[in-house]
Amino acid sequence: MSEQRNTSEGQAAKRELVITRIFDAPRELVWQAWTDPKQLVKWWGPKNFTAPVAKIDLRVGGKYLYCMRSPEGHDYWSTGIYREVIPPERLVCTDSFADADGNVVPASHYGLGEDFPLEMQVTITFEDVAGKTKMTLKHVGLPESMSDMTNTGWNESFDKLAESLQ
């Protein structure tokens, strides 16, 4: 049992995924492929999946809702909120599993592991490299103790405020 606990602690420490790809296309085109729902459905999801639904409200605070369908016909919905929208350079959004109505659900809803964070953040940057596009994706699990972090932030601000008032 204690061995299992060690493993999950190890996984908790490793909470970030970075993938870099070069696409032989100008970055405006790659940007559109991410932000135009008509294009996103053409590639969203693993091999042999289809994407029957993609709704995108492309603005800071706007929501997206995607659905991908497995070859067996199972639907997997995901949703999130855009945090940064800087065409054609940078896109930041949250990412969670969802139901068909866009409500956030845990990954266990789809039979996936318990260690999946409820909310993740995806940052995609697009760089022009001699007409091609270098795309870097960073996928980070937001810690469950997000409120603790926010508290720390507030405390620091209050400390600064207190200092300035002295």
Partner: protein
Amino acid sequence: MSSDSLSATFAALADPTRRAILARLISGETSVTKLAEPFQMSLPAISKHLKVLERAGLITRGREAQWRPSRLEAGRLKEVADWLEHYRRFWDESFDRLDAHLRELQAQQKQQHRKQTREKKHVRTKKHL
């Protein structure tokens, strides 16, 4: 790591019977007959589920024709349970498709451009006549 695509794993885990089978196999390798006991299912139906799990690399099965015990592939299951590994595969496979999409899109645009150029030339030729 096995080269099975993520869709096979997704498909394998999407079914509650197959998840129950995996849970049973945690306590050790088991025959098809034993595995079928808690489910109101025929042996061929259970065998079908086992085939899906085997294809996804989640279990391996013994070679003995009669008994063919199923064994959990713990490493593979851990890989699937690890959310980072899950997403690495998800993105890799999606980006392969994005790459293909961008190629197709540009090929179409080129073709369109060529067609337009041809039409323009055609109009010019007509004017000259």
